[in-house]
């Protein structure tokens, strides 16, 4: 770390030979202990007054070596670990992992399991977006939406708890389907939840969407156009806000998504406001998907025939899903043993975070905070 700092500050840093009154540049160390870096992200900002001249992200404070752990656990055992990457969207992580392994062993989950997966994944998307909205608004200074979003997210977590026994790191799905069938009254409860959520989304919007301060703080801030997004590999709502109508749920549908009727909201300018609007619209689309899925959920088994001891044949596959934050991919190399030979996770947050530098150059310090918030990163996933 020290050597790293020296590189950035220059050699004199340790001796303080340069004058304190050097008015040209100011190096501001934001994080890892900072109220709005969403965990342990550290951003070193080079400032001219409050204007950002450049940034450098220092990450890895939460590195737990998930990929290495994956190489020493069996396929079944590794499933709980993926929940701990993006811990605000654990269901999506688990969905991606289970589907990746299913692709590898060439098994398809039964339809009922697919529907359950879609329902839970969409609920998780809402929950994840709610966490994003609350923290993003808090970064920009609006304290209260945080509490409203967390209150509403609580209802989703209650459904998770009832369904699979855990609220946050759910471990809801297993390779080949689901471990748990729905509980009594699941459909009714989820539908009630949808009806409960709809007006709440309206309230978030009332607090923020037209609020002049919010609009001023977000419009034109952190612009990332479609080409930049593609070049930087940015996916998810950030990409869609830039006007690229691309969503893996439509582009390469998985689970029960092909049977769902929904739209992909897109923005125009690719600024923070558009990303906000895209995510707000996604909340409504998720409700739409959940309603359809609950209405048409088929009966039947929830687990495909999967051997108790998983030994996929030699080979490698890449499978990705549309997690709330972007494309979440798993690249698994199998050597026909019990453990994956290589377990690579393509985390959306990690790659989206890379765009931070491009987005904040020339902006003010306050915008850095807004942009970190709008990228919707989770450091558990960035560092893995």
């Amino acid at each position: 770390m020290v050597a790293n700092d020296r590189d950035f500050y220059g050699d004199e840093w340790g001796e303080r030979t340069s004058t304190v009154l050097d008015a040209d540049e100011l190096v501001l160390n934001m994080g890892p202990q900072h109220p709005s870096t969403h965990g342990v992200l550290r951003v070193i900002l080079k400032l001219d007054g409050e204007k950002v001249l450049g940034t450098e992200c220092v990450i890895g404070y939460l590195h737990r070596g998930v990929e290495k752990i994956g190489e020493s656990r069996t396929y079944t055992m590794f499933a709980p670990y993926v929940d701990r990457m993006d811990y605000v969207a654990a269901v999506s992580n688990g969905l991606g992992y289970c589907q990746a392994v299913e692709t590898l062993i060439n098994v398809e989950a039964p339809p009922r399991a697919q529907y359950i997966r879609v329902i839970l994944a969409e609920l998780q998307r809402i929950a994840s977006h709610q966490v994003w909205l609350g923290t993003h608004a808090l970064d920009i200074g609006a304290m209260t939406p945080l509490f409203y979003t967390f209150r509403d997210r609580e209802e989703i977590l209650k459904v998770f708890e009832k369904y699979c026994g855990a609220r946050l790191t759910t471990h809801a799905f297993r390779i080949g389907g689901c471990q748990y069938d729905t509980y009594d009254g699941f459909e009714k409860e989820v539908k009630k939840l949808c009806d409960f959520m709809e007006p709440k989304f309206g309230e978030y919007e009332e607090l923020l969407t037209t609020n002049r301060i919010w609009v001023e703080r977000t419009k034109g801030v952190g612009i990332l156009n479609g080409d930049d997004c593609k070049a930087l590999g940015v996916t998810g709502p950030v990409l869609r806000a830039a006007g690229v109508k691309w969503d893996l749920r439509k582009a390469q549908p998985y689970a029960a998504y092909p049977k769902m009727d929904f739209e992909i909201p897109v923005g125009e300018n690719g600024d923070t406001y558009d990303r906000y609007m895209v995510r707000i619209k996604e909340l409504h689309q998720s409700l739409r998907i959940i309603r359809q899925a609950v209405d048409s959920i088929p009966a039947g088994p929830i687990m495909a025939k999967v051997p108790k001891v998983l030994k996929p044949p030699v080979g490698e596959i890449y499978h990705s899903i549309e997690a709330p934050k972007g494309e979440l991919g798993y690249f698994i190399v199998s050597d026909a043993s019990l453990q994956p030979y290589r377990m690579r996770i393509r985390p959306p947050s990690f790659i989206n975070l890379q765009a931070l530098d491009k987005m904040v150059r020339g902006m003010l310090v306050a915008d850095v905070v807004a942009v970190i918030g709008t990228l919707d990163i989770v450091l558990g996933e960035v560092d893995r």
Partner: protein, 429 residues
């Protein structure tokens, strides 16, 4: 000697400062110091509680009934905390800055008129004095930011200085328009006043609060002041100098313990000061509402008793909440405490509604009630609005508030000098 002591008490028109009674001035200073400190403690609890309720939370609940003793617990904590001095800080300035901030915040209090003679003194330049002294407070913030030898405080103090300077302009112009209104008082021969007491007096004589004067001119000036005063006290949505999500804690990032609490004290005292300016200039100071509509001795009495009734209601609210506390053995002391508190509050309220007392203190009570209204607004804004960015804040200050306040000032002058024009425009009063 005794004569000197009691001499002031027979005086029913002047403040102690004006009457030349230094002893009573000192007593008033002590009362105000204690009162404002008590207000800060109460406000500390009130803000947390209010904010919590805006945010569907409970707020402090564990220290005392409904967290009523929380400010005391916090005060004890702050007093016993280590006073951290950052490495490389400018020791003298670092230690002096909070004292300075506190000093200026409390100095402004001496001209606040809680009643016709309830002020330490009544200066003929009262409002100017308040503005001048309160803007000195920014010096302490700059000192704090500079002396901390840290980037966040530095940025925070720079923001603060720029913000205060630019909002003072709009604020000053809004005040001038209110001061101008005082000169339209019949019998004053067109002479306005800067004295805080006289400004309220002018509103009484004109029979209207200045917020309704030349409607909507007075109201717009008031609105400008109400916005500028939030910026002036560094509160949300203009809390950039201490923007938590950007600058951690802004200019007081490096402070801890008692010195930090000085900043807090000064912040709330500043809120009190600017609210009292707004109350004095536009909301009729200590005057009761509806002086024309509901005139007469009976109504005077009713309005004088109203604050006492309010206090009694607060006491009953305490009873209600005590009855609603969770039934748990661990909660027993709190329930009992709340009952006792309710009884005390009701007793105080009963004391306040007794006609002789009520008439004596009704002016203070109304003044405090109006300030309480502003405090509620402060918390309400904080709960609702996002924070402006620095350049946008400047834009609002210079490009929106300043032109409007200038316009209001000019129009006020014109319509004040030509009442016929105002009448022709369909304006009242």
């Amino acid at each position: 000697m005794l004569n000197y002591l009691t001499g002031y008490l027979s005086n029913t028109t002047d403040t102690p400062g004006v009457a030349g009674s230094n002893l009573w001035a000192l007593i008033y200073i002590l009362i105000i110091f204690a009162g404002v400190s008590g207000f800060v403690v109460l406000m500390n609890w009130g803000e947390r509680k209010l904010l919590a309720h805006f945010q569907i939370r409970l707020g402090p609940m564990r220290v005392g009934p409904h967290g009523l003793l929380q400010p005391i617990a916090d005060a004890v904590k702050l007093l016993t905390k280590e006073d951290v001095l950052p490495d490389g800080a400018d020791t003298v300035i670092f230690r002096f800055a909070p004292v300075w901030v506190l000093l200026t915040a409390f100095t402004t209090m001496i001209v606040i008129p809680f009643g016709p003679q309830h002020a330490v003194t009544d200066m003929n330049i009262g409002i100017l004095f308040m503005l001048g002294v309160s803007s000195l407070g920014v010096l302490g913030i700059i000192m704090a930011g500079w002396a901390s030898n840290s980037h966040y405080p530095l940025l925070g103090s720079l923001r603060s200085s720029a913000q205060m300077v630019s909002y003072e302009v709009a604020m000053g112009l809004a005040i001038v328009s209110a001061v101008m209104m005082t000169s339209f008082t019949a019998g004053w021969d067109g002479a306005g006043t800067l004295s805080m007491v006289k400004i309220v007096e002018a509103q009484r004589l004109q029979g209207t609060w200045f917020i309704f004067k030349f409607f909507p001119l007075g109201f717009v000036a008031f609105a400008i002041f109400a916005i500028a005063m939030i910026a002036e006290t560094n509160r949300a949505p203009f809390d950039l100098p201490e923007a938590e999500s950007e600058l951690v804690a802004g200019f007081h990032t490096e402070y801890s313990g008692l010195r930090w609490s000085f900043f807090m004290l000064a912040e709330y005292a500043g809120m009190f000061a600017v609210s009292s300016i707004a109350t004095t200039l536009w909301l009729g100071g200590w005057l009761r509402p509806f002086p024309n509509l509901l005139a007469g001795k009976t109504w005077d009495m009713a309005f004088a008793m109203f604050p006492g009734v309010l206090v009694i209601l607060v006491g009953f609210a305490a009873f209600y909440n005590a009855a609603k506390m969770p039934k748990h053995p661990a909660m027993k002391p709190q329930v009992v405490g709340l009952w006792v508190l309710g009884l005390v509050v009701v007793a105080v309220g009963l004391l306040m509604v007794m006609p002789p007392v009520a008439l004596k203190i009704s002016d203070i009570a109304w003044f405090v009630l109006k300030i309480g209204f502003f405090m509620y607004l402060y918390v309400w804004y904080r709960a609702t609005f996002p924070r402006y960015r620095f350049d946008q804040l400047m834009k609002v200050g210079w490009k929106v508030l300043l032109p409007i306040s200038l316009g209001v000032l000019v129009v006020t002058g014109i319509v004040g000098l030509t009442p016929e024009l105002w009448a022709w425009m369909g304006g009242g009063r």
